[in-house]
């Protein structure tokens, strides 16, 4: 039973982590919150659903197209919402990206309605059984995919030129530019990667619950914000750890305490982190005075 809950928690946590990583990467390079992120999370499964309706037989192809669509949306987002806005404008990116997200949501609502839409991925995997714990094949695959992706992402940030560029920009954009980092390219790469990850997280949620709704992002959007603060803004490793931890905590509290505490925990945790460790759990975030 406990093991089952732990796995459920990791599932939820991996979704938080996948969304949170995108938030935190974009914050790192731009010093702006990208609130459209959670809507892109929702756009990918709807795009996949749309492609399936158009008559694409293979659901894998449709889902891959959905993720690619999310990546493209990331580029559009950058050019529409962040490129024209001066970086010193306090509310600029915040408000424009929120608007971009609203546009996505309105398009989805007007195309698919506000009701739940069944989402049949058509993927069947055998269940995995160990002891008295049963893990559905889809769940196991989802968990495996997200864990592999997180490891790949950590490796990317730590050991590749792309990762070094991103970390340099996060530390000091002007210095990075002087040292020959192409800021524009790095920022675009970050937008594509984080949007695609958000889209993938959306697809994982959709295949797991086998349904889509135009408000599926609501529950994740705000909690992912809490995740990146708890992990430390701009800290990829912190976002991953915090996402997984908060997901596990939420599911365990739901199971062994009450639903209210499960909901409240993430926010109480956020305020405690603010008071005790404002630079995030691992203390590697962008320093406060620079934000």
């Amino acid at each position: 039973m406990f093991l089952q809950q732990l796995i459920n928690g990791l599932m939820l946590g991996s979704v938080y982590a996948l969304i949170g990583v995108g938030y935190t990467l974009i914050f790192g390079v731009l010093r702006m919150l990208n609130l459209a992120h959670a809507y892109i999370f929702m756009a990918a499964p709807f795009a996949a659903f749309y492609f399936m309706q158009l008559g694409i037989e293979s659901s894998f192809l449709a889902m891959a197209l959905g993720v690619m669509g999310a990546g493209l949306l990331g580029i559009v987002l950058y050019y529409v919402c962040f490129r024209p806005i001066h970086q010193s404008h306090a509310l600029g990116g915040f408000v424009t990206s929120l608007s971009f997200g609203i546009i996505i949501q309105v398009i989805i609502v007007n195309t698919f309605g506000t009701l739940k839409v069944p989402f049949q991925s058509g993927v069947t995997l055998p269940d995995i059984e160990f002891g008295n714990t049963i893990l559905s094949g889809i769940q196991a695959a989802g968990l495996a995919i997200s864990i592999v992706l997180m490891i790949v992402l950590l490796w990317l940030v730590k050991h590749t030129r792309f990762g070094r560029n991103v970390r340099a920009i996060a530390e000091n954009e002007n210095a990075a530019q002087l040292l020959g980092v192409s800021v524009r390219t790095a920022v675009l790469q970050v937008f594509v990667i984080s949007s695609a990850l958000a889209g993938l997280a959306g697809l994982l949620v959709a295949t797991r619950f086998e349904s889509l709704s135009s408000h599926m992002s609501d529950a994740y959007a705000l909690k992912a914000l809490a995740v990146i603060v708890v992990g430390g803004l701009g800290d990829v490793r912190g976002a991953l750890v915090a996402g997984l931890a908060l997901g596990v905590a939420e599911v365990l509290l739901q199971a062994y305490a009450s639903g209210m505490w499960a909901e409240a925990f993430i926010w109480v945790m956020l305020i405690v982190v603010f008071l005790v460790k404002p630079d995030g759990l691992l203390g590697e975030s962008i320093k406060r005075r620079e934000v």
Binding site: I85, W267, R288
Partner: protein, 300 residues
């Protein structure tokens, strides 16, 4: 009146909410706790008038005081954190408050609180008009200028003898009080409230009103009026209205980053329009102040 009753109430409540976001933002406190403060005002006022039998005006006043008081602990938090961190912290506060009301049985929990005495829409209109005048007064006063200074550059403001944390807390409290008033009017006009009335999406709408209009009382008035009334024009527009706002806001942010009324004066806007109508006649210097009004509230 040209507008129907529900529209009057909606416009008035939206105007008060926009003003409630205005003062914290002018003082550089990026508070997103608006639905939380609004919920406190709404539930307190509703509780006082329904269960304690107080007159509605007194209940509204108690609601305002309660929500201003609730903002103090979060204001204390604000002394430690700034900018985007503060926005997320106040967001957490709002979520916690809404969560509290959805599990607090005496006010109905998630089922909502019904049977609140009804007031006419014109009370909301009167309240909104009074609050607009009050905020004009505050904005133009020495105190309002101090808030602006704190928002523009806290360090310079501090060097000029302003008590920065105190002013920011006051701005937050004024904002929370106004949100509480809007909440009280909301609960008494609709006679029913539930936690789902106080969600993040409300902050989003109000934030877009404020940013589109500009961070001034005049901007709040124009932003909340036009953007509330546009969806009322036709039902076909209603489903696409949020997207319409969103496009307007993105375009405005790119071309007029300070909103339509960055200075609380009508003259710069007229000059801006004129300079675009007859680009050859206008002198370059005449265009300059209005062409790219910069929002100076940037450094945290």
């Amino acid at each position: 009146m040209i507008l129907s009753d529900p529209v009057q109430a909606l416009v008035s409540i939206n105007l008060i909410l926009t003003l409630s976001l205005l003062f914290p933002f002018v003082a550089g406190v990026w508070s997103l706790g608006l639905p939380g403060f609004m919920a406190v005002g709404a539930y307190t006022a509703a509780w006082c008038s329904t269960n304690m039998g107080l007159p509605i005006t007194a209940s509204l006043a108690i609601g305002v005081v309660a929500s201003a008081a609730i903002s103090i602990p979060f204001g204390l938090l604000a002394l430690r954190i700034h900018g985007i961190y503060l926005a997320i912290a106040t967001l957490a506060a709002a979520e916690l408050i809404t969560l509290f009301f959805s599990h607090f049985e005496p006010t109905g929990g998630v089922m909502g609180f019904a049977g609140i005495p009804y007031i006419d829409a014109y009370w909301a209109v009167i309240a909104a008009a009074l609050m607009f005048l009050l905020s004009l007064l505050i904005y133009r006063s020495r105190f309002g200028k101090a808030l602006f200074a704190v928002g523009s550059d806290p360090i310079v403001a501090n060097c000029n003898g302003l008590n920065v944390p105190m002013l920011q807390m006051l701005a937050l409290a004024i904002g929370a009080g106004l949100a509480g008033l809007a909440g009280g009017l909301f609960s008494h006009y609709y006679s029913f409230i539930s936690p789902s009335n106080f969600q993040f999406s409300r902050t989003v709408d109000i934030l877009l009103f404020l940013v589109a209009g500009g961070l001034t009382p005049l901007g709040s008035l124009v932003g909340s009026f036009t953007l509330t009334l546009v969806p009322q024009l036709s039902s076909a527009l209603e489903t696409w209205a949020p997207a319409l706002y969103a496009v307007v806001v993105i375009v405005l942010m790119a071309f007029m980053p300070g909103g339509i009324f960055p200075k609380n004066r009508v003259a710069p806007l007229i000059a801006y329009i004129k300079s675009h109508r007859k680009p050859r006649d206008s002198v370059q210097s005449q265009r300059k102040p209005a062409a790219a009004p910069q929002l100076d509230v940037t450094k945290n």
